[in-house]
């Protein structure tokens, strides 16, 4: 399937052009107000694009109203009809399509089993927990087998444990049905866990579109590297570019990194991004064999349970954070001189963004 759209409403969305493959789980990830919900509502048909088209399976549906589109939407707060039972909610779209009662009943049972709510069909929505309500909303939206299922932050109202469980479940359901899901979220972990591909949105644009691994490892902009996961940023000037390697001159030394997709010229201002978990920490100030290194003094140690984050001051105005296992941090105290090192391939260089 192909959803491609060009778009020109300057206030909300600008020149969005993206494609979702059949059976893919795509997340639209961005902070609130970035236009991700507007984009989803355009896909659902509740908003019309000012310019551009929406295609579903080669069919132009731009002018189609929501009730005619082969898409269904799962709302943030479920939007279950309070005056209908779970069963009636799930069967709503089927009855509108004039399915026979026996076929509707069979489908409802199938859906209840899919979302693991067997036996709760006769409950009223007010008798359901938050997680159950969202499952019913999912079942209701999937019942009529839409070609594309659109989900508008359906898990954001749930607490962390339940949300994590639902993420895996949602992913499993999508895999089992082989359905196409477009999922809107502001939670980067959620997007990384569930998606085949992620579209990162900022100021009404898609700034990067790729697999979770790609986006995490090779962010194409400071915005993406900062938004997805934690990162260290060091700014400097591009020193030399040779083949697949690029060297950045910073105030704390020259650091090399693989050449990214971005076109950078020598002498241009650029930023080095380094994930905290890629940084190793060695007591003392000796040089290490590994790729790049820099020394400094420990400024802060933050215990986070499964890991310890250590901030090392390498310059009066620059701190690099490293993420270590708890036992690796034993014996370290603030003020200790340390050497930080990382593999060249773990760093990424990207254009500096005007703030």
């Amino acid at each position: 399937m192909g959803v491609s759209k060009l778009f020109g409403d300057t206030r909300a969305l600008e020149h969005i052009d993206f494609r979702v493959e059949d059976g893919e789980f795509v997340s639209l990830l961005g902070a609130s107000g970035c236009g991700k919900s507007t984009l989803l509502r355009i896909l659902a048909g509740f908003e019309r694009p000012t310019t551009g088209t929406v295609q579903i399976y080669q069919q132009d549906v731009t002018q189609w109203p929501p009730e005619k589109r082969p898409t269904n939407l799962v709302f943030q707060r479920g939007a279950l009809f309070p005056h209908m039972t779970v069963r009636e909610n799930i069967g709503y779209s089927l009855k509108l399509r004039r399915w026979t009662p026996s076929r509707i009943d069979a489908r409802i049972e199938e859906m209840l089993a899919l979302v693991r709510l067997d036996g709760l069909g006769d409950r009223a929505p007010s008798q359901l927990s938050g997680g159950q309500a969202q499952r019913v909303a999912l079942a209701r939206a999937l019942a009529s087998e839409p070609r594309v299922l659109l989900l508008d932050e359906p898990l954001s109202a749930l607490d962390l444990k339940l949300r994590q469980q639902m993420q895996l479940e949602l992913r499993a359901i999508q895999k089992r049905l082989g359905a196409t899901f477009v999922f809107v979220t502001h939670d980067q972990t959620e997007a990384l866990v569930m998606s085949d591909r992620i579209a990162i949105m900022n100021n009404g644009r898609i700034v990067q579109y790729g697999t979770p691994r790609d986006i995490y490892r090779r962010p194409n902009s400071v915005f993406v590297s900062d938004f997805v996961g934690a990162t260290n940023l060091l700014s400097g000037v591009v020193g030399s570019i040779d083949g697949e390697r690029i060297v950045l001159q910073t105030a704390s030394g020259a650091f090399a990194a693989p050449k990214g997709t971005e076109q950078l010229r020598k002498g241009e201002r650029a930023v080095l991004s380094l994930r905290p978990e890629a940084v190793r920490l060695h007591p003392g100030t000796g040089r290490t064999a590994e790729g790049s290194s820099v020394s400094g003094n420990i400024a802060e140690i933050i215990f986070q349970g499964n890991c310890v984050r250590i901030g090392t001051q390498i310059l009066p105005d620059a701190t690099i954070w490293a993420e270590l296992r708890d036992d690796e941090a034993d014996g370290l105290t603030p003020g200790d001189p340390v050497t930080l090192s990382w593999a060249e391939s773990a760093a990424a260089v990207m254009k500096e963004e005007p703030q």
Binding site: R77, M84, L96
Partner: protein, 290 residues
């Protein structure tokens, strides 16, 4: 239950205590007079003197008199016609206030409320100046040349009664409907649409069921108040548009008054109106079943 029993019973006591003033008020000013009236309806009169007793004569008279039957029918008809105008109009207005004007809906609400402040009689007279023989409507129509002589049916007719009552009671129906609409999230209407429902289906299967309490109140306000009104028919109605309320009122004042008969009529009217009200709300529920 994690609540401690002591706090729970404490809360229950507080709730009961809060209900005392209203209960006392209702008992003193509603329940007691109603019981008195009920007792009175079984009494009789002889040369304007009340005779206590237990007689069904008043009820028999109410049910057998052709005049009262005709009035009762006309009252139900006028009240239903009024309601049929008010409830859909108020529903549409409340819908627009909630879903079209959104924030500015509050402003419209203020205007609607303002019209309630202008007083009952003033508003009836206002309708007279619009519908009258030389009223706004007739003179405008004559001026534009659409008609040559005033339309007679505009004033002193059942038509005038229905129109005036609709104008009077419309704000009372808008209030409960608007507050019911505020409880309907836009998501639910969009969800229905997204699942394939057309406008009529959304109205019937989602919007009406979700605003049913407000609809019921709006229906009760317009139907019951229209059926009980006797000022409007006497000011804008004709000789053929007297309602049962006029006759009931006559039994309690002036020459020829008959309190026990009036009381019996009042109870019959209440019973009939309640029956119509209940069957209509049943009907709404049946129409919107899913």
């Amino acid at each position: 239950m994690t609540n401690e029993p002591s706090t729970q019973s404490g809360q229950a006591r507080l709730t009961l205590a809060a209900m005392i003033p209203a209960s006392v008020f209702y008992a003193a000013f509603f329940a007691v007079p109603m019981v008195c009236l009920l007792v009175l309806s079984f009494w009789t009169t002889k040369s304007f003197v009340l005779i206590p007793g237990f007689s069904l004569a008043n009820y028999v008279k109410v049910f057998t008199s052709p005049l009262y039957q005709a009035l009762m029918l006309r009252t139900v008809g006028v009240a239903l016609a009024t309601t049929a105008i008010i409830v859909p109009t108020a529903f549409a207005l409340a819908y627009c206030m909630r879903f079209v004007f959104e924030r500015r809906g509050q402003l419209i609400l203020q205007v609607v409320l303002l019209s309630l402040f202008s007083g009952y009689l003033v508003r009836i007279y206002a309708w007279r100046t619009i519908l009258g023989k030389q009223g706004l409507l007739n003179s405008t129509l004559e001026w534009t040349g659409l008609i040559n002589e005033p339309l007679e049916f505009l004033i002193y007719s059942n038509f005038a009664v229905v129109v005036t009552l609709s104008g009077l009671l419309l704000p009372l129906a808008v209030l409960p409907l608007y507050s019911a609409m505020l409880n309907v999230p836009r998501d639910h209407l969009e969800a229905a649409r997204d699942l394939g429902a057309g406008r009529l289906h959304i109205l019937r299967t989602v919007l009406v069921p979700m605003t049913l309490p407000g609809l019921r109140t709006a229906f009760a306000f317009s139907f019951l108040l229209a059926a009980g009104d006797f000022v409007t028919p006497s000011l804008v109605g004709g000789t053929q548009s007297m309602l049962i309320g006029n006759i009931v009122a006559d039994q309690f004042r002036g020459i020829g008054s008959n309190w026990p008969l009036g009381a019996a009529m009042a109870f019959v009217v209440v019973a009939i109106m309640l029956a119509v009200y209940l069957s209509t709300t049943r009907l709404i529920r049946w129409v919107t079943r899913w």
